[in-house]
Amino acid sequence: MTGKSEAHPKSILLVEDEKEMADEIRSELEGRGYLVRAASIAEAADAARVGDVAMIIMDRIVFGEDSLVALAGLRKEGVKVPVLVISALSSIDEKVKGLKAGGDDYLTKPFAMVELVARVEAMLRRLDDVRTTKLRVGDLEMDLIEKTVYRGGVKIDLLPREFRLLEYFLRHPGRVITRAMLLEHVWQYHFSLETNVVDVHISNLRKKIDTKGPPSLIVNIRGAGFMLNANA
């Protein structure tokens, strides 16, 4: 438990044995103002237990050791720290295993850094979430119980799939959302697509919610994905 007291409360622990990968993740996240610490599986588990870590990014296999065992142990103890599992093992079985063991999200190598950052930010953001029945961004309001959406007091009719899509954006306002995140979390599709079908869904949703004309509530982030404009 060395350095526990000096640690930034919002630091991210990185458990990754591939040095180049670890360096890239670290400089990427540090470039965005996060404090990143490298740790072994045991160090990460200890830090999580005392609660001085914002989240853990862990490789599935670290120096030949399966990190899911430690993760499952932590969850059993009731430790709730968000964990992003990254892995070379891309099969769905492995993803399911990773999520079952207590991972909050799962990312398969190779991935673009925007993908990692988007997921990290979505997870850190979730910390602030409280159980709520209403989501609101600007004048857009969603009632999760009534399944209704109003913008500036005017009701917007959405198809169920459009409702789910908008809900995901409303839960992560001002955050970059990648296409893969939408596929995985809105449609539960754990594979990559070679078509722009997600973009079409977004553009259909835009047509319905942008009742006040441009700029759109959902903006494209070049090379990354989309973002719900929180200040709209």
Binding site: E24, S90, S91, D93, P110, M113, Y189, F191, E194, G223
Partner: protein, 471 residues
Amino acid sequence: MLEFFRSSAVRLALAFVVVTTVAITAVFGLVYLRIGEANEARNRLILEAEAAKSVDRSVEELRTAFELRLTHDLRRIDYAALFDANRKVMFGNIDQLPAIPVDGKSHFVAATRAPGSQERLEPAIFVARQRPDGTIMLLGRSLLESLAFRRIVQRALAAGLAPMLLLALGIGVFFARRASRRLDAIHDIIARIMKGDTHLRLPVASRRDTIDKISYDVNLMLDEIGRLLVQLKGVGDNIAHDLRTPLAVVHAQLERGLESSNDERLRAAAKQALIHIDKAMLTVAALLRLADVEYGLKSRNFQLIDLSAVCADLFEFYEPLAESKSIKMTLETQSSVQILGDDDLMREAVSNLIGNAIKFTPENGAVSISVGREDGRPVVRVRDTGIGVEPAERDKIFQRFYRSASGHRVPGSGLGLSITAAIANLHEFDLRFDDNRPGAVFEMVGRGNAAEQPSASASPRALKSKAPLEL
């Protein structure tokens, strides 16, 4: 049938029959000849000895002896007579001295009137001997008995040879059929292996015969080919594996460079590079995914999943994309098509087919998805009115990295159909292609063990049976 006679096994069987027949005939023939000869030789010796012994007897003694001999000869095969010096018969059962030298040696006479008979002629052996008193003693024995004996042997030969021939033929055909059945089985298995069931092996019985030995060797060869194939794919997969981190790192560094640099020329170059690295990462990810499906997931636990639900879900997912291209997309489902499988993988496979169909279909075209059972076998079929597949390219589309020449400008890894085929194979489905004139039909059909020949009448309502698939 012609093929049956052409097989080496049948030729062997026929050769076996011929050799057996010749051998049996030879043995019988030898026995036949030997028995005849031995009988004759024995008779000759006896006659000569008797003649020599009786030379010194008186005429009266001879008469008595002859009478006694002829009385006892119930079979009527003995000849005995005494002739005077003028060769006139004195007594005995033969009137004329046969035309043989009077030398005490036995001689063969082909046709002699039978003893006590007027018309029967038969072969016999005679010994004529001059006695001291000038008379000539004649002893003889009919060869009728040994002829009869020969006939018995002949008949036995004839009676025995036919069943023996049949038996030999039967045994030959039995072994030939057994051998050809085994060879046919081997032929079938090899055909299936060539079709892609590379895990199959030839049966090796415990007989340790030539076919077993060859089967064993072929199996070793198949193992080796399989090992090489795995190795070859492994090399590709390892390359993909090793490229992951460098690609991700370069990608990240370019992204950061792009953010921090204001040099427009550098930024443009970095943007171009990123596009290509994205493509490379897509390919690497797809390759690794393919390897996962092909090798990593064999042990996965399949569950009952509903193909109709999978298709309905994907239909809803792809509908906006089709609408955006003014493509009319339709879905025909039966209430529930349950199979044992993996939900996510099946979703991926069908998603690839639908995605491709929309991708390769021009505006105002049509894509139809149907799911159901045909002859008890689950079928998912995706039809489009798109660019189709050139006949020359049809056997290549399931190969890794293959993309139609006309489809080259459409982005993609070229591995989508390979992954779909691998997933189909994992679920014991066949992925097939057919011409939709215009456009393409891709269908995944469960192999099942239901009826082999599809019959149009048994097809469920929504799914019209098509012409046989040409693959």
